[in-house]
């Protein structure tokens, strides 16, 4: 590969952090307890190398703490690697911290200047971009009001507009496509695609595999400080999902075992413990309780991440204290903005009332979950026939939907074009 075609060259970088057990940064402590300031060296990156061609978009994936965000920070030069080298060819802009240096008392316009200047733009360059920035943020009417009067959505829109209009050669992005409402997100997304088509190199860190699949040419999966796999996003993401699914199963099994042990040793206390942190999210007579919720894909793997259009099977384990003669099960699905996307119960669905007498498992099967990408919070409930809650459990479960189709909104509607 010719040297001038490479935008980013990462060569065997390592990075470790010192985790101080008790750190003294005062003179007294440094002098008196010099030997005592023990620390543990935690290796976050253990030798990562990759190259990114000009105009290529790559996604870094991996679970929390695997080192992907650290890698991005090293790329931006916020931190420096312990060993190894990083070469970046071109102007770098990062969408890591949006709205850096915003001053609440200054107007939107003034903040555009401050914020853009932090990206290294000169006044002339900002002047040239000002109209684009304002237009993109859709804040024309408010641009001369102080930023403190903005809603958080407006604030983020302005911040994103500045960052994306920097015209960098290399764009580094960390989990920011969760900005604003769905419309604005779609707009950001299209802008990113446009930027990419102009030949900008893009590196994205995201938990949202759907976004990565839509934009990136290549996924790099970082696991415990090393590159575990890289290749086309569709393949790598599937591998990653499988891996995460297995891990989830393992951890839930462990949890279950622990719980069972706990239950065996002190059965009385356990219930109270459960009550306290969830008081506000959970109410009802308590005659029956939802014990555990699990979600499965069509092939039976326990999972919290699903593809739009896949089937999802929820299983609810419940325990019964007192008999509930006329029980109704319900489900509610909410997106991150708190909008209810769907809700139903066994009464609405005209199922016969049934009597809960002893612990068991209920099941709801969504044959085609057409929810669009994003996180969703689920409520589950047991009620009596006349609607009195027995156990209403708010935000009982969280799932994430992913997709590589770029449609927007809440849910996909079956459709066909005739042209």
């Amino acid at each position: 590969m010719a040297q001038n075609e490479i935008a980013i060259d990462v060569n065997n970088i390592t990075k470790s952090f010192k985790v101080f057990l008790d750190k003294g940064s005062q003179l007294k402590e440094r002098l008196l307890f010099r030997k005592r300031s023990r620390y543990e060296e935690r290796k976050v990156l253990r030798g990562i190398s990759f190259q990114v061609k000009k105009g290529e978009a790559i996604g870094l994936i991996g679970h929390n703490g695997c080192g992907k965000s650290t890698t991005l920070k090293l790329l931006t030069k916020i931190m420096y690697p312990d060993t190894g080298t990083i070469t970046m060819n071109g102007r770098v802009s990062s969408l890591i911290e949006l709205g850096a240096g915003f001053h609440p008392d200054m107007s939107g316009r003034e903040n555009i200047y401050t914020n853009a200047s932090i990206f290294g733009l000169t006044k002339k360059e900002i002047d040239a971009r000002l109209n684009d920035i304002v237009a993109f943020s859709e804040l024309e009417e408010f641009i001369d009001n102080p930023v403190r009067t903005y809603s958080s959505g407006m604030y983020m829109r302005l911040a994103f507009s500045v960052a994306i209009n920097v015209d960098a050669d290399i764009l580094l992005i960390d989990e920011i496509l969760a900005v604003g409402d769905a419309n604005f997100q779609a707009k950001c997304f299209n802008k990113l695609k446009e930027i990419k088509s102009h030949g900008t190199t893009i590196v994205i860190v995201s938990h949202s595999l759907g976004q990565i699949e839509q934009i990136c040419d290549r996924s790099i999966w970082i696991h415990e400080g090393l590159i575990r796999a890289e290749g086309p996003p569709k393949e790598i993401d599937l591998e990653y999902l499988d891996f995460m699914g297995q891990k989830l199963q393992e951890s839930t099994r462990k949890e279950l075992e622990e719980k069972q042990q706990e239950e065996a040793s002190e059965p009385a206390e356990e219930e109270e413990q459960e009550e306290t942190p969830e008081e506000k999210k959970r109410w009802g007579s308590g005659a029956a309780r939802i014990k555990k919720i699990r979600a499965y894909t069509s092939d039976g793997a326990e999972q919290r991440i699903f593809r739009t259009g896949e089937s999802i099977r929820f299983k609810l384990d419940y325990t019964v204290k007192e008999k509930v003669p006329d029980a109704v099960f319900g489900i509610g699905i909410f997106n991150r903005d708190g909008v209810q996307c769907y809700g139903t119960n066994t009464r609405i669905d005209k199922l016969p009332e049934f009597s809960l007498e002893k612990s068991g498992t209920a099941e709801i099967f969504l044959e085609k979950a057409d929810l669009l990408p994003g996180e969703y919070l689920l409520d589950f409930a047991i009620e009596t026939g006349d609607g009195i809650p027995v156990d209403y459990y708010r935000e009982a479960y969280k799932i994430e939907m992913i997709s590589n189709i770029g449609d927007v909104g809440i849910s996909r509607l079956e459709h066909k074009w005739n042209i």
Partner: protein, 258 residues
């Protein structure tokens, strides 16, 4: 070399940080920007009362003698004391976004410098109102003297702001250091009364020369001594180089230490 080029590219950031600092400094206070002038004026009153009436310094127009030295000193001392915590104060920015880190101390020192320039308006007002008058030829050297002091203050601010990140006590130590430094600089008294055995220490103090230059130009209405000015410039550049080297070495781990 690269650093200078990069700093030049980020000049707009320095400019907006200075603007933000100047506008934000007295926000919410009743007198607002007037504090820029009130603060040094009140200090001037205190020192004049103490040294001119109580201790009887016996210097003609003591208030002016003191004023032309005090304002530059306040610039220098606030650059090192408050400048020391400037990097720590911007930790949110440093942890989350890349920019040449030197931008922060530079913009801080620059905003102190602008403050000093504003105070010079008051100095000139006093000079004119009291009929002391100015020597225009000598006045032309004033920007050079200010430049030399700026370089010194920047060197010190780079040094202290970088070290403070690793060693937070420095902020507090510097409060006392700057007080000692003030009394070890001929600001409230004349260098001629300094005992001979202390003179070498005074001569090594870069601020001694700067203050003397200011005083020659504004109080004595004469051309500053070229050798004094050159010596001060030499010390200033040396300080700046040391400051840059230390800052560059230490800034690599800012994000982790903050």
């Amino acid at each position: 070399m690269n650093t200078i080029k990069e700093l030049y590219a980020y000049r707009q950031m320095i400019f907006s940080l200075v603007k933000k600092d100047l506008r934000g400094r007295y926000k919410g206070s009743v007198l607002g920007f007037l504090w820029t002038f009130i603060n040094p004026l009140l200090q001037l009153v205190v020192y004049t009362v103490v040294f001119s009436y109580i201790l009887k310094a016996n210097i003609d127009r003591y208030y002016l003698y003191l004023f032309v030295a005090l304002i530059p000193w306040i610039f220098f001392s606030s650059s090192i004391t408050v400048g020391a915590s400037s990097v720590v104060a911007q930790k949110d920015l440093i942890k989350k976004i890349y920019f040449p880190r030197m931008v922060i101390p530079i913009s801080y020192v620059t905003s102190c410098f602008v403050n000093m320039l504003l105070c010079f308006i008051v100095i000139f007002a006093v000079i004119i109102v009291t009929g002391v008058g100015v020597n225009f030829a000598a006045l032309l050297t004033l920007p050079i003297i200010m430049g030399v002091e700026y370089v010194m203050a920047l060197g010190m601010a780079l040094l202290t702001s970088a070290v403070t990140v690793y060693f937070r006590d420095l902020e507090h130590i510097l409060g006392i250091v700057s007080m000692m430094w003030m009394y070890m600089t001929p600001i409230m008294y004349d260098k001629s009364i300094v005992p001979d055995d202390l003179l070498p220490a005074f001569n090594l103090n870069p601020m001694t020369h700067v203050i003397e230059c200011y005083r020659t130009v504004l109080y004595n209405k004469a051309m500053p001594d070229l050798s004094t000015l050159l010596f001060a410039a030499g010390l200033g550049v040396a300080l700046l180089i040391i400051g840059c080297l230390v800052f560059n070495k230490l800034q690599r781990h800012f994000a982790e230490e903050l």
